[in-house]
């Protein structure tokens, strides 16, 4: 019956990473060991709760309910990002919780992509669009090359499996590119306030699938959860770099929702963090 035999892992390497304790960005911790104050339900959340979530397939036709649905989705998206990136102690990091939050983020991203409301955003350091008339298409294809390489190299050095990450991350990006290709006309139509000549650095307010996934997966760092003695070639790797998204940044992203155009600069905090991330990657990769 012994197909796989688990042998003991010796503990050897001294610590390299330390996490900052949680500053309780989210409201009451699960174990609020105080007077057991009853937590009142907040007003705006009532409205959010009240918004009927649209079925996965279609969008609601009428304006107000779509607006509230989209607002709820945006709020949940931001909440999820905060949950993944707030500096929690490692002991609190339940893998199930992270996986569920990550799935939530992916689902929302997929929904956004399907609706075509999202124009893929290049990392600021990437090359400008080759075709100014069709920025959506143009921006996604170079994104396979430039920004993915530094991020995936970083991830590869941390990935104990030693599998070819650049290939791995590029191919899902390619799939997403092909899925996004039919979208650009819609994207342009639905975001008239974002001129076609806008550079990639001014944004649609959301991250590309590629950039976001790499950041998320960089945080779900296999070196924290897995050590396979057979693939020791990966080494210790650089310290985890996760963009720090503060509550204030996210409050800015919740700024006036104008019912259709997501391009009103709420991505600035994200852009700033991506720029930092990119700079750090360049330093690490030595390019």
């Amino acid at each position: 019956m012994a197909q796989r035999v688990v042998t003991p892992y010796p503990a050897t390497v001294p610590p390299t990473v330390s996490d900052v304790s949680d500053t309780a960005l989210c409201s009451p911790r699960r174990y609020m060991l105080g007077k057991g104050a009853k937590r009142k339900h907040e007003e705006n959340e009532d409205e959010l709760e009240g918004a009927a979530p649209a079925p996965a397939s279609g969008e609601p036709a009428d304006g107000p309910s779509k607006a509230s649905y989209t607002l709820q989705r945006q709020t949940i998206f931001n909440m999820s990002l905060m949950k993944l990136y707030s500096q929690r102690a490692p002991a609190d990091a339940s893998l199930e919780r992270r996986v569920l939050i990550n799935n939530m983020l992916r689902r929302i991203q997929d929904e956004l992509k399907q609706e075509g409301a999202l124009r893929p955003l290049l990392l600021p350091a990437s090359s400008p669009p080759e075709d100014p008339l069709c920025p959506a298409t143009a921006t996604t294809s170079p994104s396979d090359g430039t920004p993915s390489a530094p991020l995936s190299t970083e991830a590869q050095s941390k990935d104990k499996n030693g599998s070819q990450r650049p290939g791995g991350s590029a191919s899902p990006a390619e799939e997403r590119t092909s899925a996004a290709d039919p979208a650009p006309p819609n994207g342009l139509d639905m975001s008239p306030s974002a001129p076609p000549s806008s550079s990639p650095s001014s944004s649609s307010g959301f991250l590309t699938d590629l950039a976001l996934d790499d950041i998320l997966f960089a945080d779900i760092d296999t070196s924290m959860y897995d050590f396979d003695p057979c693939t020791s070639g990966a080494g210790a790797g650089p310290p985890k770099v996760a963009p720090v998204v503060t509550a204030d940044d996210l409050v800015k992203t919740l700024s006036p929702y104008s019912g259709g155009s997501p391009s009103s600069g709420p991505s600035q905090p994200f852009k700033m963090d991506l720029a930092e991330l990119d700079h750090i990657m360049e330093v690490l990769v030595g390019s």
Binding site: V5, V6, T7, P8, S27, G36, P53, A56, R73
Partner: protein, 454 residues
Amino acid sequence: MQSVVQTAGAGGGSNDVQWCFSQVKGAIDDDVAEADIISTVEFNHSGELLATGDKGGRVVIFQQEQETKGQPHSRGEYNVYSTFQSHEPEFDYLKSLEIEEKINKIRWLPQKNAAQFLLSTNDKTIKLWKISERDKRPEGYNLKEEDGRYRDPSTVTTLRVPVFRPMDLMVEASPRRVFANAHTYHINSISVNSDYETYLSADDLRINLWHLEITDRSFNIVDIKPANMEELTEVITAAEFHPNQCNTLVYSSSKGTIRLCDMRAAALCDKHSKLFEEPEDPSNRSFFSEIISSISDVKFSHNGRYMMTRDYLSVKIWDLNMENRPVETYQVHEYLRSKLCSLYENDCIFDKFECCWNGNDSVVMTGSYNNFFRMFERGHRRDLTLEASRESSKPRAVLKPRKVCAGGKRKKDEISVDSLDFNKKILHTAWHPQDNIIAVATTNNLYIFQDKMN
């Protein structure tokens, strides 16, 4: 076996039974020390012993007093029998992570001799503890004084045979086996097999099979870790062996599925024999559908024909022969469905509630918020909500049923959803294997309730 007075087995449903307060264990003050938070509760196979584990790595075992002739109408009280430190905090230097000493699960072994055995586990290590009684000690050695000092042999002039003399009862707990270093992820379940020789331990991505006598190796029987961790979308949340069939086990996932595996089919049970999953109700679909479908506990019925699963809002009972939907579904706190966004924000949506069967599989029980717990009587389709609180803690006081008002006009004695205390959650409950005695753990107190005996 059972006296007439104890009607727990014979058709005593939750509404025929009146539940009374019996005892409460733990500190009274509201300032809860984190180490005292109860993390698991388990009766042994006879129900005479009740074990609790806490966040500080301690195990406390209570023993039921023998029923005295003086009080034939009251079941014995549970008093502290043994307390020991099962697990200590550790530091994993390789990953620079603390390993919590919190006891995740305790499982008793069936009793084979005078001693009792239990398995206790934290996130990484499982230990087999032997709990034995000592009530006699040898006295009258020839070469040793009573205090243990050795006598000079030249002073020994006569010989005597040492004899056992009674002493105050001492209960000793000693670790007999330590099963370590087999789990990369956090252990969420252990389950003793019906062969009483092997047991399983499950973490987020893998399930290992152990022999109770062998600590330096285990067999991996389920592995859902993807080659690329980027593709990880599902984890194992609970696992259990079938109570009668030693080749059968089930494990539940964060996506609301339960897989039944037969260990005879292959060494690695990655291919399930049965997949239990209920299609989603489209009218209830929301952003949180996946999260609330995540199964927090799975328990076989005692007779082995059914299994029960607990997800965030409901308890489902499955017939092992029907995979496409449960045979019964009970809503635990449906009024929370409209509050899911707030519960997601404060992380309550990730709370892992357990569930349990009564001795004859006619009633199931699970916990909720505000220190409420719920019982569902299967045959009569009745349900009951009770509260574990200091206010209703007078000896033998009958517990008053509670009701939550979901909306509209709140009747007298009802509690509105907005007044619920989400910090007072009952995650762990246990039911005596034969009698109507239940153990309900609030954050740091253990309540024992029993049915009113007339």
